[in-house]
Symmetry: C2
Subunit: 194 residues, 2 copies
């Protein structure tokens, strides 16, 4: 059983960023800035309206970032699993986003101040934001320029694991279509590969 105060996954991440082992002091510094938290499946990590939200580095589990539009409909923006970051980069402004846990999840969380401090020491931490941007841009273009069919195929190619871990209605929202339409796509696929 994993010790609740085990920060080894986090330290390993920063060693990869730094490209060399961390000293005891460095580890201590990192540990002191983070807080270990766990969220049970369906539990909220962040809700629209909250200010000063934290950044989350996921040790184990699966989180989902989404909005709820004025008709109460949810739109999944992205999912984040083990060894990925998730948070609202707009913090400390009040967020418009929701984050909840799709599986029981353990994270290391850090506030904006801590995050900035570490970004100044571990320059490559900022690279992550760049990578997130690139990812989102690709996703944006993909949803804009391709049909839901094609986007589903792409997802299977690029992230088959997600499809295993997620119920279809979350995938459909991620692809920007209704569950009913995704079901049609799946039926057509099944017919094709008969």
């Amino acid at each position: 059983m994993t010790n609740v105060e085990d920060y080894s996954v986090l330290h390993k991440y920063f060693e990869i960023l730094k490209k060399e082992p961390l000293s005891a002091d460095e580890k201590e510094n990192i540990t002191s800035l983070f807080r270990k938290e766990t969220f049970r499946k369906k539990e909220f990590v962040m809700k629209a309206g909250e200010a000063n939200t934290r950044h989350y580095y996921i040790e184990k589990g699966l989180l989902r970032l989404y909005i709820i539009d004025r008709n109460g409909k949810e739109f999944n923006i992205l999912f984040a699993k083990e060894k990925q970051w998730l948070g609202d980069l707009g913090t400390p402004s009040p967020t418009s986003y929701y984050i909840d846990a799709l599986e029981n999840t353990s994270v290391f969380s850090i506030d904006e101040d801590g995050f900035r401090k570490l970004s100044d020491i571990y320059f490559d931490l900022a690279t992550n934001i760049r990578k997130s941007y690139i990812f989102l841009q690709k996703r944006f273009v993909s949803i804009l320029s391709k049909t839901a069919d094609e986007n589903y195929e792409d997802l299977i190619q690029q992230n088959p694991e997600l499809i295993q871990r997620l119920p279809n209605y979350h995938i459909s929202s991620y692809l920007g279509v209704t569950p009913v339409f995704l079901s049609k796509i799946l039926a057509k696929r099944a017919r094709k590969s008969d």
Copy 2:
């Protein structure tokens, strides 16, 4: 007439980042990393396939970042005008994007190395990437969750100037619809406000 070697707009930008006046040395350092370039309307700034692309800080004019899908159709990702940055953050990997000038445009351009150097000195330069991310995320959610009608209204509210400077077919592509459909939206709007 503006001198081709006038870097004052650029220096002013970095003074805002730094929150205090720059020394002569600092100005010199910045100037040495950038290159001043001009692009005539319709001229390409960047083409898909190119590697090691540059970052552009716009002094005057209007640029457009877009992709061309496999059917030859263009999708406008974003526009950038005076005092805004534009570039492919994926550099030095070969880019999938095109940038061209929608007006005669003058820019200060910098390569990836220079950009990183300055990011280490002027920490707030990285904030820009965050802001870009937030902007794109909002845009993404908006296109996903709203109708083209609503997105057009939002654009008018948030960026009326763009609508003046751009032909409708560029706006329609930005909104993720065809020119024909935007024309319908405009006709309906005109009818309403009769």
